[in-house]
Symmetry: C2
Amino acid sequence: MEEQAIQDIYPEDYAWCYGCGRLNEYGLQLKTVWDGEQTVTTYTPRKEHTAIPGFVYGGLLASLIDCHGTGSASMVLHKKNGYVIGDGAEPPRFVTASLHVDFMKPTPHGTPLKAIGMVEEIHPKKFKIMTEVYADKICCAKAEVVAVVMPETFT
Amino acid sequence: MEEQAIQDIYPEDYAWCYGCGRLNEYGLQLKTVWDGEQTVTTYTPRKEHTAIPGFVYGGLLASLIDCHGTGSASMVLHKKNGYVIGDGAEPPRFVTASLHVDFMKPTPHGTPLKAIGMVEEIHPKKFKIMTEVYADKICCAKAEVVAVVMPETFT
């Protein structure tokens, strides 16, 4: 049985994100899973996600890092709250407070990208996610996301 | 006559970017123009560019800021080199070294977004672009991009 991603169990109202909403048919449908203590999101860019031909668009990397960050924070807090993905409990949903990406190398197109994250709690409702994005063995980007628990009223 | 954007005069090989390539039919086709000393990129998100319903996806804002940054740097260096958009000279093409976005407010969907930039030269081949993104009068994001002239060989 395939492992469930955190995005598979987001409440339905929060499953429309262009980056990671399972119900957004035009979106990227990013999915984040555990790999030991790390969180991993793997995505193969579409043909049109180019910067210059042969290389991946930086905004796509930023999108991958963004949803990987909020997903990773959700996973860590869900686990801290005593739940495991698939036990029926709804996970907390996060929003991005800030996003920083250092582009290390041009990202080759045509290979899956793997975002690997480590999460650090900086406040019970605020988490920092350090992410590296790899294309095969090339580290293409290093990033830091600060994610906060989504407020009850979003406006 | 409509004012030309910097992206309208990028060399054809560099006009395939998912964010701002005029030849990428699936992309956002972002376009950046002068407004006095500031650079401006206006974009109306598609229906599917949602975070949660009613609000715009952060990765879309990051993409807008990214291409607005490289476009703005290109405009400033092109001008410094003595050219104006439309005189037939090819502008320099930039790549993003780093991207930082602070999300200030949830971004309402259904209204054009306006990225407004100020450019600072930090080295003849390296520029910093400070950008604010507005939805109507709401400042939704503040950002800083460092863009560098694209190297001759990209790999």
